[in-house]
Symmetry: C2
Subunit: 160 residues, 2 copies
Amino acid sequence: MDTIGFEHHDHDACIDDGTAAVAAYCARNGLQFTRQRRRVLEILLEEHRALGAYEILDRLREEGLGSQPPVAYRALDFLTRHGFAHKIERLNAFIACTHMGENHAPAFLICRACSAVAETYADPSEGVLGRAAREAGFRIERAVIEAEGLCPNCRKERAG
Amino acid sequence: MDTIGFEHHDHDACIDDGTAAVAAYCARNGLQFTRQRRRVLEILLEEHRALGAYEILDRLREEGLGSQPPVAYRALDFLTRHGFAHKIERLNAFIACTHMGENHAPAFLICRACSAVAETYADPSEGVLGRAAREAGFRIERAVIEAEGLCPNCRKERAG
DNA sequence: CTTGATATGTTATAGTATTACATTTATCAA
DNA sequence: TTGATAAATGTAATACTATAACATATCAAG
Ligand SMILES: [Zn+2]
Ligand SMILES: [Zn+2]
Ligand SMILES: [Zn+2]
Ligand SMILES: [Zn+2]
């Protein structure tokens, strides 16, 4: 399980690889990877934490790329619709995907201390939830799975 | 697994039992089960779907029990803080708990067709999510688990 | 080119939630 | 009973999140 977000890593590669993967995917699938969409994705890729739409909009505004809410929300809508970014419902905020292009059922680990968010995988149709759904006759189509707690770094800090 | 919410059942008992259980719990634990708190709980108990804070506020206003947002949010804060109600993050809305008083890790099944919401149980530390968290060194303290799809009733309707 | 679809600019507005502070009510010890 | 403290409520104002609507511009395909 590759749960990126808490460990040290080559973060420039996150940004470059993510952008490149999305560019390629869009080219292959006839999607328009416009300047705003690309920039919003880059902004998200710059951090492994979730950003609010207005936080993103502020940066766009500074760069002269747009100043009104729909600018941010439209780009985010595009990115989330195609799985390049995810909304963290608990935070009303957005984060870049770490499994670009792969068809996946994301789940998130949110650190309450440092706000880092790691994306991981949790098939909602497995485990207790899946069983409960089947027993109830409920067909799961998608699921919001967001765990909150302490990331390894913040746990060490507290212990030390 | 008792996944209340989709099946036919004695719904008056839901309301009465829920209110009684909360009243008893509050009495035992020195909590003030005030008129507003009780009324908001009753409003939530009346339906097995999630209600927005302003939807609740509208009802309170009609009944002369309050007219400003904090009235609803304070009651909801009390109810959720003690586990008598839960917030459905996906819907920005609230629902009465179906396991009053029991210490539990709730998960929800949300029907996209009829908006019914059923509460069930899913220990976040089990299964794929728990394993991913342990491997990442992340300590889960709570989790938002909200599955969306079709409830048994709406599935039948579509099939028929 | 032309045409239809897609994306952007912009204004306004809807929906969700909290801050702040004055007032009232409940709790509890003296 | 009373006075002190804490908890809850009343109310106005504001902050934060998200979408509707419509005009304009750009793109993709024939
Ligand atoms: Zn992802
Ligand atoms: Zn942390
Ligand atoms: Zn519950
Ligand atoms: Zn349904």
